[in-house]
Every structure is written in structure tokens, then in C-alpha cells.
């Protein structure tokens, strides 16, 4: 038997026989040499031998060795008429040939022949190959052909199955290449096909298409409902081949239920009634005694049940079904199968967010708490935490928070931070009494201090500052907590901050007199890290204001060598400045400078944002927040970048909030993870200001470009800023230009928590109509790292050379994969002709002399236009300077006019430019005149500058 010969050949090179790695490599190299010589030999190999060696190569590759030959032989096998030879050829190509191979043309040719062969086996192999490789080249070649095969009347069922999924693969890879057409309506009718395998494959295809084009596939709803109805009401033997352990067509049922989740509840009452019946039947069957004791039976049955419950939750419209689903899941919570307990907890989490079933879910609280305490699998306990979080409301918050806190003591390290966040959120959200809230957070720090992130302790400070009814209690509580000989550094931070603000509220008690408070804090000082010590120094200067009697003690401390000469610049600077401040400032000035922090603006909890970032927005929802969270997400993702210190009361900066400007950070801004681009813009006021965190309106101020942005005119007069932003990606720019050269730093920030893969940003110059052959701009750049981690930022440097004057700005094309989908973004890069301006100063006399020299009509371009912005002299001046020309003062006889001069540098020429802008306040109009020695330059500069006013 020939086939067993192949097998024997493979056994011959089996690793199992080799004693060591070296021996294996030796054996393989020998085999590779042998195969190579066979392929190179004079004698043409017959198909069988070719197949044998290609198969061996494949085997060697699968063992983990590199293969760099044999591709041609594999392609040759494709045109064989023998199934086995063809199969090995196709397999080799599916596993080993990448899409940009030069062989792709030959391969596509062979596939084309097989598709046309009318031999169902060969057609199947070809379709599977397309589905497995799924490259763009294949989509280009076959996206037209595959739908035809799928809907042709004479296509065999098994080929139809393959064609449906092959088309699905092409649609996922290159949706633009798969045109909707006549076939779409015929595909929907495959839901009625007699062959359940065809229906199974077609349902997947239709579901994917319907997600993108719900209108076109709307008719699939009623067809899916009737198909589902026929399945669930069938007797367990009706479907024969498709009955799995007494469950009729479980996978197809799941797929149909998923398809229905692409749509709202059916509008047609008949369809809707039939669907409700189906769902009721599925719920009823769950109560019937099992037809088999085998786990396969119950798994298959429950797979359908869980999918039905997902659909019920998705519709969220039938209170009766929702409550029944909840009761069913309640039974599973105590099931002996861990899988079922896990899935019930998970599914109940979504039920908890429906108003119809929230109360029903709450009745299971004790079981869930018990799961938290007794489950062996950490992922099950995790689901229990999730569910407790989801079912929490005012009525049970105290119990749930207490249970979570006690679980935290023994919780797995991997989920502690998340539990801390959840406790902090629930404690804040359902606090009736803020003393309870403060106690809870301090407990969190005591139990799991290392897992309490900045967001959490910033938040407790925000709340204490904003609520004067809790300040005295907070001061007393932190004072007591600090008595512990060993307390977590986070407690020192919170304690230091709160006593610095509100220590006076407990100073009346001699047990917590100012000096006692100070000594208590200072006893922790030396064990703390630099940021905490910096914070404590700020507390001390606040004490100087609050308690004049401890001023000398504190001055002594500040004066000490360990402060004034501290190796850390930040600490040293604080010590010097605070000491000086305490010495020279009058009491009044001190009181003003060190005034109590003003309340923080109310905003979305930064902790919630953090949790969302950790878990992804969809997993953190609850009844009251669902709507609000959606609107927040629309505005660009979880956490607005906290650029200034006012975002979170970062004590290292805020206590210093000297006087009226608490937002001005002294020292370096706190690096609190969320701000992707903060560092880039720290020097740019216009970008830093709107980044004020929490305020959604400000966040909207960034331009959003759905496709290529039309003008990008906001960058004409500035070089830095946010170029583009969507849910996933933020692009920032920083650029500098000198003469005809420029350098642009592009910063790509991944706003999600998921990696971007194959990240390829490509800047491309565009040619205007006049320049089919010449390039006006040269752009040089290196590829960036193709993987961008969640929350990370990568930088790309583009070197720019302006060859000659131009009008079309280059385009930045960005492609990447995000969570399995292919993303494509194109943005216009704001490289405009005026970037290559060098300002020229000149006297009034020179200016008008040149002005007259450039009086040729082609040299002058004039534009009269209405003001789009308020006509402010200073802003206008700033814009002209930002535009790149010199602003010439006292040149124009009319002081209301603006004149400018400069030279546009390109590689091939230098063009002198004069400009004059005459505002007419009464008419709210401007007249802008450009005179240069080159018409195209005058034209372009006039266009660019006109947009600015």
C-alpha cells in the first residue's frame, strides 16, 4: 500500500527515535539533503515521489524546523489529478505559503481550475485552501466566484457548506472586495435548506453579514425563528444524524439563537410569539428529567439553554422570561458541575443589569457569597465577585462590601487590585454615611495596601475635601490608624494629606494636639519613599499655617541637612522653598497661599474609569450607570488624560497649589498612567489646557476626523497638538522646521487595554494634478514596532524635505489589527507650504520698495473675506507669527493693518513673500494680499492664511 509507505517514511524521521536534540537535527538535516537532491536530480520525479517528499518536508516543518524549499514542488502537486497528491499540495500551501509569495499567481491558477472542475472533491480542496489562507490576493481573485458556487442550483451540499464559510473568511479579511448582490437574498434562504449541514454553515455566514448590514439581512429573522422552532419541537430522533446525545441539533440551535441576537425582538407579532414559544420550550426542557446521564447530553442541552438566556437578556423585554431564566440559573448555582456554577454566575451578572430581573438576582446573594468562600477554582470566585458587584445596590451594599473586604484578606493576588477597585466604587456609590465610606477605604489600605492604586486614595481625598460633614471624622480616623506601629505607606499619604488639610479639626483634643500630630507623621517620614516624603513636607508647611505653635519645630526639621541637602532635587527644593516661605511670608500671606484646597469638580470617579480600563467597558455596567457610561465612552474612551495636577489631588503637586492657581503643577507632573500624550504637550498651553481631566466637553474640543480630515487648518499656525483621536487611537504631533527641512514626531497612543498588532503607519506624499511626475515633498521614516501594547505609546520620526512648492498635504495611512479586526485610518498630515517660511525683518522703506517691485498681476493674489473668528489684534499677530513670516511693526502707515515678510525655502528655489492683512472692523471683513515672485506660492499662501481669521 503506497500510503503506508509515506507513513513509514515519516516514521523514519520521527523524533521519538532520536536520543538527543543534536541527533534529531542531524537526522533531519540528512533527510533534508536527501530530499533536496531528489528535487534537483536529473530524473523528473513522478507525482507519487513528489508527494512523498513534500509530505516529509511538511512533517519536518511541523516538528519545528525551518523549510526553505519545496514550495514549487507543492504547487506542482496542485495540478495533479490524484486526490492524495492534490491534498498534500494544498495542505503544504495552507500551512507554509504566506500571502505575499511569488507563487500566489500559480496557486490561484490551480485553485481556479479546481473550482471550475465540477469535481466536488477538488472544489472542496480548493475552497478549503482559500478559507485557510484567506489572503487579500485570494479575495481579489475569488470573491466574485465563490458566491456563485454557493447559490448555484447544482452545487453539491458539501461544496455549499465549504463555499459559505470560504466566503465568510474572505468577507472578514477583505469586506470591501465582497460585493453584496443578487446572491445575498438567496443566501438567506439557505436557512430553509433541507441539509442541516448547509444550514449550519450558512447561519455563520449570515450572522457575520447581518452584523454589518442588518437591513439587508432582516428577512433572516423570521426564517431563523421558524427553523429554530422546528428543531426545538422535534422529537429527539427526528433529526437523526444531527441529534447529539438526544439533543436535536444543538450547535445549529446555538447559531440560530446567536443570529437572532443581531436584531431587536421581532416586530411581527406572529414571529415574536413563535420565538417566545421556542424560548419557553427550551426553558421547560431544562426542567425535564435528563434523557441520558452522560455529561455530553447535559452539556449540549445547556449550551442551547445558555444561548437562549443570552437572547432573552439581549431582548430585555419579557419580564416573565427574564425571571424564569434567573430562577433556572439560580438552580445551577448549586449544581455539582463546576462548569455550570461558573456559567450561571457569569450569565446572572448580565441579568443583574436588567431592571426586570435585578430583584430576582438579588435573592441569590447568600449562595453567591458562599461561592466566594468555598469555590476551589479562582475563576469561579472571580465570577462570584463580579456578580456581587453587579447585584449591589443601596439595600445590600453594606453586606456585600463587608464580604468582599473579608474575602480580600485571602484573595488570590491576581485579582486583588480588581476587588480593591470594586470595593472602593461600591463604598462611594452607596455610601449613605460617609464615615462608613472612610472606614471602608482605610480598611482597604490596611488589608491590601499594595493593591490600592493612586486612583483609589486620590478619590478618598477628593471626597473628604468635598464633604465638610466627614472631614472631622476623617481626620480623627486617620490619626488613629496612623498609631499602628507598621502602617502601609498609602495610609501615610492619605493621613498626611488629610491632617494637612483638616488636622485643626481634632487639634483641640490634647491627645491629638498639633505637636502630637506632627510627631506622629514625622515618625513615619524616614521610612517612606521620596514621593511620600515630598507630600509630608507639604503637610508640614500646611501645619505652619494651621498651627503657628509648631512652626519652630517644623522649621528645624526643614533646616536639617537631611532636608536642605537632600540628594533628591524635589525634596531639597521643597525644603528650601517651604523654609523660606515660612520665614519671609506674613501670616496673612501664609494663610492665603496655604489655604484649604477648594472642592474638586464633580466628575466620573477615576476609579470607575480605571476599572473599565482594566476590564473593558462592557464588563463594568450596572443598572444605574449603563446609560451614563455609554455617553462617556462615546467621548473617547475610559480615562481622559490627566494633564494637570487638578485631575486628581496628587498631593505632591497640589498642596503646593500656591494661591489662586491650584492647577499649576510645581515640579514634574505626576505620571499617572492615563495620560498618553501628556509629556508631549507639557510645553504647549493650547493642548494642555483642554486636557483638564474629567470634563467631557473639553475632551470634545479635540478635532475628530472620521476619514481624511478636510483642511487640518488648525495646524497651519502651530506645530504641536492632537491630530486625530478615536475610540482606539490617539495621534499627537510635534514638529519643527528649518528652511526647506523639517522633522515631525508622530506619537501613536493605544487608548485600549489590548495590543495593536501589525501596526503600520505610512506617511505618503500626495501629488497634485500639476505634478504627476515630480515629487514636491520627500518623506523619510523608519517603520515603528508593529506591536503597540495597551495603554502604550510609540513614536515615529518623519524627516521632511520640501523640494518645490506644493499644495497637497501628505496623508498618513495607518493600518493595524485590534482584537482580530483590521483597522484602517487615514489622516492628512499638516505639512503645509508655510512651514518652510523663514521670517525676514525689514524696514518700512524696504518693504514698500519690494512691494512695488512685485506689482506684476501674476505675482499678487488677493482675497477679501468675512471674519470667522472675533477680530482680536493680539490673536491676529500671534497667527501671523505662527504662520511663519516676520510680523513687521510700524511699517504700514495704517496702524490697524498687519504686514509680514519672509522667504519660502524649497530645495530648488527660495521665494520672497510679502503679505498685508487689512481688517475692517465695521464690516467684519479682511482683505489679505500676498505678493511673491511665484504665482503658485502667492496662491497657496493666500489660501492657507485666509482660513485662519
Amino acid at each position: 500500500n503506497k500510503n503506508s509507505c509515506v507513513e513509514a517514511g515519516i516514521r523514519g524521521i520521527c523524533v521519538g527515535r532520536c536520543k538527543s536534540k543534536e541527533a534529531e537535527i542531524k537526522r533531519i538535516n540528512k533527510e533534508l539533503a536527501n530530499i533536496r537532491s531528489k528535487f534537483k536530480g536529473d530524473k523528473a520525479l513522478d507525482g507519487y515521489s513528489k508527494k512523498k517528499y513534500v509530505c516529509k518536508l511538511l512533517f519536518i516543518f511541523l516538528l519545528g524546523h525551518d523549510i526553505d524549499f519545496g514550495h514549487m514542488e507543492a504547487v506542482n502537486l496542485l495540478s495533479s489529478n490524484r486526490y492524495t497528491e492534490k491534498q498534500i499540495g494544498y495542505l503544504f500551501i495552507s500551512v507554509l505559503v504566506n500571502s505575499n509569495s511569488e507563487l500566489i499567481r500559480l496557486i490561484n491558477n490551480a485553485i481556479k481550475n479546481d473550482l471550475a472542475s465540477r469535481n466536488p472533491t477538488f472544489m472542496g480542496l480548493a475552497l478549503h485552501c482559500i478559507a485557510n489562507v484567506g489572503s487579500r490576493e485570494m479575495a481579489e481573485a475569488f470573491a466574485g466566484e465563490v458566491p456563485k458556487i454557493l447559490v448555484a442550483g447544482d452545487t453539491m451540499d458539501s461544496v455549499k457548506q465549504s463555499a459559505a464559510l470560504c466566503l465568510l473568511r474572505l468577507y472578514r479579511t477583505s469586506p470591501d472586495l465582497v460585493p453584496m448582490g443578487d446572491w445575498t437574498s438567496r443566501v438567506v434562504h439557505l436557512l430553509n435548506d433541507q441539509h442541516l449541514g448547509v444550514v449550519t454553515a450558512a447561519t455563520s455566514l449570515i450572522t457575520t453579514l447581518a452584523q454589518k448590514n442588518p437591513e439587508e439581512f432582516k428577512t433572516s429573522v423570521s426564517l431563523a425563528v421558524s427553523r429554530l422552532s422546528r428543531i426545538v419541537t422535534s422529537a429527539s430522533t427526528d433529526l437523526q444524524d444531527y441529534t447529539y446525545y438526544f439533543v436535536p441539533a444543538p450547535w445549529l440551535s446555538v447559531k440560530l439563537l446567536r443570529l437572532l441576537q443581531c436584531y431587536p425582538p421581532p416586530e411581527d407579532p406572529a414571529v415574536r410569539g413563535r420565538l417566545t414559544e421556542c424560548l419557553e420550550t427550551i426553558l421547560n426542557k431544562a426542567q425535564e428529567p435528563p434523557k441520558s446521564k452522560k455529561v455530553q447530553h447535559s452539556n449540549a442541552k445547556n449550551a442551547v439553554l445558555f444561548e437562549a438566556i443570552s437572547l432573552i437578556i439581549h431582548h430585555d423585554s419579557e419580564p416573565n422570561l427574564l425571571v424564569r431564566a434567573c430562577n433556572q440559573l439560580g438552580q445551577f448555582l448549586q449544581h455539582r458541575e463546576t462548569n455550570l456554577r461558573y456559567l450561571a454566575l457569569e450569565s446572572m451578572c448580565t441579568l443583574a443589569s436588567s431592571e426586570f430581573s435585578h430583584e430576582a438576582v438579588k435573592t441569590h446573594i447568600d449562595t453567591v457569597i458562599n461561592a466566594l468562600k468555598t469555590e476551589r477554582d479562582v475563576s469561579v470566585r472571580q465570577r462570584a465577585v463580579d456578580l456581587l458587584y453587579a447585584m449591589c445596590d443601596r439595600s445590600n451594599a453594606q453586606q456585600i462590601v463587608a464580604e468582599m473586604l473579608s474575602y480580600l484578606e485571602t484573595a488570590d493576588y491576581s485579582i486583588r487590585e480588581e476587588i480593591v477597585l470594586k470595593v472602593a466604587i461600591l463604598a462611594e456609590k452607596y455610601a449613605v454615611d460617609y464615615a462608613w465610606y472612610v472606614d471602608t477605604i482605610l480598611n482597604l489600605i490596611r488589608i491590601a495596601g499594595d493593591y490600592v492604586s493612586e486612583e483609589v486614595w486620590y478619590r478618598v481625598i477628593q471626597i473628604v475635601i468635598n464633604r465638610d460633614d466627614v472631614q472631622g471624622y476623617a481626620a480623627k480616623t486617620v490619626f488613629e490608624a496612623l498609631q499602628a506601629p507598621a502602617c502601609h505607606e498609602n495610609l501615610v499619604k492619605v493621613g498626611g494629606y488629610i491632617l494637612g488639610e483638616f488636622g485643626n479639626l481634632i487639634a483641640g483634643d490634647p491627645r491629638s494636639s498639633p505637636l502630637v500630630q506632627f510627631n506622629l507623621l514625622h515618625s513615619k517620614f524616614h521610612l517612606c519613599s521620596v514621593p511620600t516624603r515630598a507630600l509630608l513636607l507639604s503637610t508640614y508647611i500646611k501645619f505652619v499655617n494651621l498651627f503657628p505653635e509648631v512652626k519652630p519645630t517644623i522649621q528645624d526639621v526643614l533646616r536639617g541637612d537631611s532636608q536642605l541637602r537632600n540628594a533628591d532635587v524635589e525634596l531639597q527644593q521643597r525644603a528650601v522653598e517651604y523654609l523660606r516661605l515660612s520665614t519671609v511670608a506674613s501670616t496673612d500671606i501664609l494663610a492665603t497661599v496655604l489655604e484649604e484646597m477648594p472642592p474638586f469638580p464633580e466628575r466620573e470617579s477615576s476609579i470607575l474609569a480605571k476599572l473599565k480600563k482594566k476590564k473593558g467597558p462592557s464588563t463594568v455596567t450596572d443598572l444605574e450607570d449603563t446609560k451614563r457610561e455609554r455617553s462617556v465612552d462615546v467621548n473617547g474612551g475610559p480615562e481622559p488624560a490627566p494633564a494637570s495636577a487638578s485631575s486628581t489631588p496628587s498631593p505632591s503637586a497640589d498642596l503646593l497649589g500656591l494661591g489662586a492657581a491650584p492647577a499649576a503643577p510645581t515640579g514634574p507632573p505626576p505620571s499617572s498612567g492615563g495620560g498618553l500624550l501628556v509629556d508631549v504637550f507639557s510645553d504647549s498651553a493650547s493642548a494642555a489646557a483642554p486636557l483638564a481631566p474629567g470634563s467631557e466637553d473639553n475632551f470634545r474640543a479635540f478635532p475628530k476626523h472620521p476619514r481624511i480630515s478636510a483642511g487640518g487648518s488648525e495646524f497651519v499656525c502651530k506645530n504641536n497638538g492632537v491630530l486625530f483621536e478615536n475610540q482606539l487611537l490617539q495621534i499627537g504631533l510635534k514638529s519643527e522646521f528649518r528652511q526647506n527641512l523639517g522633522r515631525m514626531f508622530i506619537f501613536y497612543g493605544n487608548k485600549t487595554s489590548t495590543q495593536f498588532l501589525n501596526f503600520t503607519p505610512t506617511p505618503v506624499p500626495r501629488c497634485g494634478l500639476d505634478s504627476l511626475t515630480r515629487t514636491h515633498l520627500n518623506l523619510q521614516t523608519k517603520p515603528v514596532d508593529p506591536t503597540v501594547d495597551g495603554g502604550a505609546q510609540v513614536q515615529q520620526v518623519v524627516n521632511i524635505e520640501c523640494v518645490s512648492d506644493f499644495t497637497e498635504a501628505p496623508v498618513l495611512n495607518i493600518q493595524f489589527r485590534y482584537g482580530g479586526t483590521f483597522q484602517n485610518v487615514s489622516v492628512q498630515l499638516p505639512i503645509t507650504l508655510n512651514k518652510f517660511f523663514q521670517p525676514t525683518e525689514m524696514s518700512s522703506q524696504d518693504f514698500f520698495q519690494r512691494w512695488k517691485q512685485l506689482s506684476n498681476p501674476q505675482q499678487e493674489v488677493q482675497n477679501i473675506f468675512k471674519a470667522k473668528h472675533p477680530m482680536d489684534t493680539e490673536i491676529t499677530k500671534a497667527k501671523i507669527i505662527g504662520f511663519g513670516s516676520a510680523l513687521l511693526e510700524e511699517v504700514d502707515p495704517n496702524p490697524a493693518n498687519f504686514v509680514g515678510a519672509g522667504i519660502i525655502h524649497t530645495k530648488t528655489s527660495q521665494t520672497g513673500c510679502l503679505l498685508r492683512l487689512e481688517p475692517n472692523l465695521q464690516a467684519q471683513m479682511y482683505r489679505l494680499t500676498l505678493r511673491t515672485s511665484k504665482e503658485t506660492v502667492s496662491q497657496r499662501l493666500c489660501e492657507l492664511l485666509s482660513q485662519q481669521f
Binding site: 500510503n3 507513513e7 520521527c14 511538511l58 512533517f59 511541523l62 490524484r82 486526490y83 492524495t84 491534498q87 495542505l91 472533491t121 478549503h128 478559507a131 484567506g134 458539501s158 457548506q161 465549504s162 464559510l165 470560504c166 473568511r169 442541516l196 449541514g197 449550519t200 454553515a201 455563520s204 450572522t207 452584523q211 437523526q240 444524524d241 444531527y242 447529539y244 441539533a249 444543538p250 450547535w251 445549529l252 446555538v254 446567536r258 455530553q296 452539556n299 449540549a300 445547556n302 449550551a303 445558555f306 444561548e307 443570552s310 463546576t338 462548569n339 461558573y342 476551589r376 477554582d377 475563576s379 469561579v380 473593558g616 498588532l757 501589525n758 489589527r817 482584537g819 482580530g820 479586526t821
Partner: protein
Amino acid sequence: RVWIRFILIQNRAGKTRLAKWYMQFDDDEKQKLIEEVHAVVTVRDAKHTNFVEFRNFKIIYRRYAGLYFCICVDVNDNNLAYLEAIHNFVEVLNEYFHNVCELDLVFNFYKVYTVVDEMFLAGEIRETSQTKVLKQLLMLQSLE
């Protein structure tokens, strides 16, 4: 957005017996995934669920003697449906190879790929009827 990202069959020692990818990964990434999956799956015992969160996805797995059959899907996909899809697949292999063992998968790897393509294609379940799949496999075998 729901489809299988990959199917892996590994033994306890971490040797891969089948790797079927339904998404583009480069070779390094594949190797990393294989190692990570092995690490998360082999530490679990019978009291654990058959599901593990994995990066932004989840792994549904089932152990048969020394072999782990793992399917990676979206987090919101139906766990039990894939758990039984694995079993259905294993029953087909068992029937086709007459009591399948690890070595069958090694030496007949090219046949295993055919079985996979019959049952799963483009990351979706293609055919679930064991009768239909086996009939097709026997027909193909007769062509050899």
C-alpha cells in the same frame, strides 16, 4: 465577531500535535501562544472548569488521556457548545482511526487536517453530524 481563533492539540509535555490557526499570526507569536496555552491549561485539575480566560479571549479545553484539546474563542462565545464540539471531534477521530492514540495524530497529521477542515472551517463549525463527516472521510480514503 465570533469565531475560533485557533485549535491546539498538545500533550502534557507541551508537544503540539495539531495547530490550526484561523487568524494571521507570525511564527513567533504562534510559538508564544502555544507555550502560554500549555502553561495555563496544564496546571488545572478536574475540579476546575473547562474554561480559562486567555488574553482577551478564552480557551475552552478538554483533556483526553495525555492530550489537551484546546479551542480559543471570543469571551462572549458559548462555552458549552465548544466544549461539546471538541468531544464531537474526538469521537470522529476515534472512529476514523479506530481508537485513536497520540501516535495516530503524529503519523497521520495530514489526515487530521482533513478531519478538522471537514468539521471546522474559517473558524466556524462546518459540519456536526458524525455520520456525514465519517462518510465523507471514507469516500476520500477510497480515493487514495
